[in-house]
């Protein structure tokens, strides 16, 4: 029996003004009927380009240069758009990465779903409507009749992704290509979406090509894995064999970097060596930050109850350790971070930094407070001014507080750039010339410039690939050891939290549902929600 999809020595290149640039080299693998194959690699590895080539949806300027793509034995690589229309949707379904921009915002989702049937002339109007409702029901959307009339902005991210899955499987294709289908979603939503894809596969025997940067997701869901780097296949094989005995160094590195694949060593606060006298140690305030009873409410519609984004939240950060706040989107964790960094004022509760109450600081006092607490943002593409050089960006806090003269500031910037392990020749470059990981290093260097006591990291590694993420976490750990920093680490990713934090608070709907030392919370979660979150982390399938 021939494989459903076979790629043979596929080469893809983009036309650029500097001549063709080949981005996929000699890629060969196949997908059997009903099989889940994961295509794993970091960004820039050519995995999305490979998937687009199969669909004949390469962006302008891209072309298949050599090799073949065979669907059930027929080579479709040279087919025109017109001929491919008989394949796309009908025989190969596609689930895009981004549920926000992949749906037309001005048409109800029912109409958009029905499009697949209308384009391929399946059934009359009433028939199409019935099948749309069936599909919506099938992908687990409650009250399909109502939802079909709604517009994309009325649905949550997870629901939009379900709609996209529904449209991918509408015509019951033999193969579904899912391009990072869950990268933009919370872990619990991710789990449900992946379960849904699994379930559809079992029922219809659909094969799935899962494109992902997360080896954890691949390990949990796929039967075989194809690892790509720099547009070439590094290694491929059955998932079990690959995880147990990776042959290539790059695969081993991916495995080591993937959070959640194995239980990390939990971090325990080291006893401070310089405090030998127990009585002195006891007298010292062990907390760098104490937040108690924080409340922040936002007015909604007139007359309605105000929405409490943060509802009676308390936590402490022990000096020299990392405290993590974990939760899904909408749990209020970012608002909490913004209260602590004094970009938002709480309606009630206090924030104490060391021995001072910083809750009510305004004006000059608040500016002075900025020396002691620094924030690192989630998105290093937005948090660095594109017009400044790396050296200027890092030195800016010093300039703001008039510390040193121009020369000493440049010297400090050089030291900080070195400290975050950036090559020194990057000092004169602008952010857009840097990779995502390098930009985040610049943001960290800037946060360290004022030698703060507490650094608040708001999803600081969430936008990065697993390998880059692992490097940044190592850097953070190392800096903490050397400089005695304290971190407040905000994240939705439990695997990352397990690796970096000493203690953790789990937030849900504005409240802390559970908190304690990381090891305790992860090993024996008390609250049901914590357990649900932990279960949702992609792990290796337990082979029965």
């Amino acid at each position: 029996m021939t494989a459903l999809l076979e790629l043979e020595h596929l080469d893809v290149a983009y036309r650029t003004s500097a001549g063709p640039s080949r981005v996929v080299h000699d890629v060969s693998f196949d997908v059997a009927r009903g099989e889940v194959v994961a295509l794993v690699g970091e960004s820039g590895s050519g995995k999305t380009t490979t998937a687009s080539a199969v669909l004949g949806l390469l962006p302008a300027g891209g072309a298949v240069e050599g090799g073949g793509i065979r669907l059930s034995g027929t080579d479709i690589s040279g087919w025109s758009d017109r001929r491919l229309q008989a394949v796309r949707g009908v025989r190969i379904g596609y689930i895009p990465q981004d549920p926000v921009s992949s749906l037309n915002p001005v048409r109800p989702i029912g109409v958009q779903l029905g499009e697949a049937f209308r384009i391929h002339r399946r059934g009359d109007r009433r028939d199409v409507r019935r099948r749309v409702l069936e599909l919506l029901d099938r992908v687990g959307i409650d009250d399909p009749a109502l939802r079909a009339r709604q517009y994309p902005h009325e649905l949550s991210g997870g629901m939009r992704q379900r709609v996209l899955i529904a449209s991918a499987v509408a015509l019951e294709p033999e193969l579904v290509i899912a391009d990072e289908p869950t990268s933009a979603l919370d872990v619990t939503v991710q789990r449900r979406i992946l379960d849904l894809i699994d379930e559809l596969r079992r029922e219809h025997g659909t094969a799935v090509l899962l494109v992902t940067h997360d080896l954890g997701v691949a390990a949990e869901r796929a039967e075989r894995v194809v690892v790509m780097q720099h547009g070439r296949i590094v290694e491929q094989g059955a998932i079990g064999a690959l995880l147990d005995d990776p042959r290539e160094a790059y695969t081993r590195r991916l495995l080591a970097d993937a959070p959640g694949l194995e239980e990390p060593e939990f971090r325990r606060p080291r006893p401070p060596v310089y405090l030998r006298d127990a009585s002195v140690a006891a007298a010292e305030n062990p907390f760098v930050l104490e937040a108690s009873g924080l409340v922040k409410a936002y007015a909604t519609k007139r007359g309605a109850e105000p929405f409490r984004a943060v509802d009676d939240v308390s936590f402490n950060v022990v000096r020299g350790t990392t405290h993590a706040i974990v939760g899904e989107s909408g749990s209020g964790k970012t608002t909490t971070a913004r209260i602590v960094t004094r970009f938002v004022s709480p309606d009630a509760g206090t924030v104490r930094l060391g021995d001072t109450d910083v809750t009510a600081l305004t004006g000059a006092a608040r500016r002075e407070f900025r020396r002691r607490v620094q924030l690192v943002y989630q998105n290093p593409f937005a948090s660095l001014d594109p017009r400044h050089t790396v050296a200027d960006l890092v030195a800016e806090p010093l300039r703001n507080f008039g510390i040193g003269d121009r020369r000493s500031r440049a010297e400090t910037a050089r030291r900080l750039i070195d400290r975050v392990a950036l090559p020194s020749h990057l000092a004169g470059h602008r952010p857009r010339e840097l990779s995502g990981g390098q930009r985040q290093r610049v943001a960290i260097a800037r946060a360290l410039a004022l030698e703060p006591e507490l650094v608040v990291l708001d999803e600081a590694v969430s936008a990065l690939d697993v390998t880059v993420q692992a490097r940044i976490l190592e850097l953070l750990e190392q800096l903490q050891g050397e400089l005695g920093l304290s971190y407040l680490f905000i994240s939705h990713d439990l695997a990352v939290v397990a690796r970096i934090s000493h203690s953790v608070s789990v937030m849900r709907r504005g409240r802390v549902v559970e908190s304690g030392p990381t090891e305790q919370v992860f090993r024996s979660p008390q609250h049901e929600y914590t357990r649900e979150l932990l279960d949702a982390v992609p792990r290796r399938k337990v082979t029965a």
């Binding site: 390469l58 891209g62 997870g158 943002y377 998105n379 703001n400 936008a463 390998t467 190592e474």
Partner: protein
């Protein structure tokens, strides 16, 4: 967890920019500047490609002939304004009555006017009046409008509301009518006409710069600057202004063309420079009486105005695209 951080960064791949950050829930944070082309992020330059020649070839092939032409037109017009005597030997003011109303020829490329003055010389010498007028007008609009816009955008609240309504009033009056009223207040003359045109464009500059400032103020890096202890003026000058000016500069180039047109219009109506100044609008106005017999008196200076305005618009468009 094994690699020491001191052997860094080779492992960091090119920009994970196009990818929607696997952030929170359905909310996707994506930098606006990143093009939304799936797969384009996979086009990292090949490691073996030599970077330097590639960059040069890219630059050379990036040159667009129409843009080069537009710049050439503007440079020529400026050269006319600065060193007109290099372009023509004829006197723009003294005429030879015997040679009046001659059609374009080798001796007089643009022909001659009713009192025998060389029209080409008058156009060349007139450039300084029209261009400096446009320059003054744009400067007035740019400085005044941007100041108002930045104030409104950065202070917000009552200041924003008051400036917003003033701008509304300015926008409500037709530009030509506004310019005419201001000239009547200021008196006739090239400079006053230019100032009047400039005041007319303040509203557009204020609107645009306000919206840009409001947009940039919401950026993370502006909050980050406050977070690292910067005060409002420092944030405005260091981060907000440089990042909001690109669009304003593009509008300035566009207004430069519009201002040449407006000043010529005022000159045509007799509100600008007095005769015998060879200002472009005035040239066209003077040729009006001879349209039936001597078409070149209106058509050729008119064409010059059109070409210069189009060139300015083309450059403005390119500036706007390169943001």
């Amino acid at each position: 967890m094994s690699a020491p951080v001191d052997t860094p960064l080779v492992e960091e791949p090119a920009v994970p920019g196009g990818r929607g950050a696997p952030a929170e829930g359905g909310r996707i944070s994506r930098p606006d500047s990143q093009p939304r082309v799936t797969g384009s992020r996979d086009v990292s330059p090949l490691p073996d490609a030599a970077p330097r020649p590639a960059v040069w070839r890219q630059r050379l092939s990036g040159i667009r002939p129409d843009l080069v032409l537009a710049w050439a037109v503007i440079v020529l017009a400026i050269a006319w304004a600065v060193v007109p005597w290099l372009f023509t030997g004829a006197d723009p003011l003294a005429g030879v009555p015997a040679e009046k109303l001659q059609a374009p020829s080798a001796a007089h490329p643009f022909g001659t006017d009713a009192i025998g003055r060389d029209l080409y010389a008058r156009v060349v010498y007139g450039a300084v009046h029209s261009l400096s007028g446009a320059f003054v007008a744009v400067t007035v609009g740019l400085v005044g409008g941007t100041l108002l816009g930045v104030l409104a955008g950065s202070l917000g609240g009552a200041v924003d509301a008051v400036i917003g309504r003033v701008v509304d009033v300015l926008l409500a009056i037709p530009a030509l009518l506004l310019s005419l009223s201001i000239i009547i207040l200021l008196g006739f003359g090239t400079v006053n006409a230019a100032i009047a045109v400039g005041i007319g464009s303040i509203a557009a500059f204020a609107r645009l710069s306000r919206s840009e400032v409001v947009r940039v103020r919401q950026a993370d890096f502006v909050e980050a600057a406050f977070g690292s202890g910067a005060r409002l003026p420092a944030v405005l000058f260091r981060h907000v202004l440089p990042n909001s000016l690109t669009a304003v500069i593009a509008l300035a180039a566009l207004q430069f063309g519009t201002a040449i047109l407006a000043i010529s219009t005022l000159g045509f109506l007799g509100y600008g420079a007095p005769p015998p100044t060879p200002e472009w609008g005035l040239l066209i106005a003077e040729g009006r009486n001879y349209v039936a017999t001597s078409w070149w008196l209106t058509v050729l200076p008119g064409l010059v105005v059109v070409v210069v305005v189009l060139a300015a618009n083309r450059i403005s468009h390119a500036l706007g695209r390169n943001r």
